[in-house]
Amino acid sequence: MVVIAYLLLRMHNLFAVVMMSGIYSLLAAVLYVIMDAVDVAFTEAAVGAGISTVLMLGTLALTSRRDKERTGNKPIPILIVTITGLLLIYGTLDMPPYGDPTAPIHHHVGRYYIDNSGEQVGPPNIVTSVLASYRGYDTLGEVTVIFTAAIGVMALIGRSRKRKKKLKTN
């Protein structure tokens, strides 16, 4: 994954960059499967590696295949990114090790969902009952976000044909 992320930064052919980001998403999905988050992996593979690659290719067809050549390396952005990255890594040092049963995340609502989901909601897949029932408002919000995104795309580039016709008739 690190190699692909580095290649993504260095390449100038945007077509290859889109393909690489698809591969990156697929590798991320594999990582999620290894961490037993099957639902997340499924979403990552379908959305990240599938649909967004197609949409990116569509965007490329509308714009250009190559990005602008940059002149030289600028020190300040690299410095900021390195410092932020180091700070984030420093922050993870305090976190409990992966899979630690005594980690705080397993003792808050997670415990409650695991204990009560079968009795209160029913479906054997706890992820579904959390998503749809316990966190129904959040899911409703997410669907609204997708709806808004589609409306936004429509408003931005969907109506252009009519507008151009109007310009021509004027």
């Binding site: 099957v38 639902d39 992996a41 499924f42 979403t43 379908a46 959305v47 599938g50 649909i51 197609v54 949409l55 569509g58 965007t59 067809a61 509308l62 209160q120 909601v121 029913g122 479906p123 054997p124 897949n125 992820v127 579904t128 009952s129 998503l131 749809a132 029932s133 129904g136 408002y137 899911t139 409703l140 997410e142 669907v143 609204t144 997708i146 709806f147 995104a149 589609a150 409306i151 795309v153 429509m154 580039i157 969907g158 252009s160 044909r161 151009k164």
Partner: protein, 144 residues
Amino acid sequence: MLTKTSILRVVSKLLIPPIMLFALYVQFHGDFGPGGGFQAGVIFASAFILYALIFGVDNARKVAPAWLTRLMLAAGLLLFAGVGVFTMFLGGDYLDYSMLSKDPHAGQHLGINIIEFGVGTTVAGAMITIFLIFDGRLRAEKKD
């Protein structure tokens, strides 16, 4: 479009029905296995986009005209929000599916299935709409 490549045509003809069937499986089996409305919607849309890429967007537009995908986009969200309002009329909280049936478990199950269907409809509608708009824009640019 790639209409002259017969291998692609044959393979995609074979693949599209199973992809759609798999989307429905993911949609309605999400409460037992991994998956749900989001994934199902995306998979369904990808089957449609594959069809559009191989057989041409004009044919795809005949299958799903713009008004249909836009209707799907809005109907799914309305279905989700409508279930919430409906449970309020039945005397529960907003999105309290236990009200949908006498048995709270059956009610939850029904409610989850309905809202997941709404999610799937909206996601599929959104993805297909965005794809078709991109194509429409591309043609508009080519004409100029």
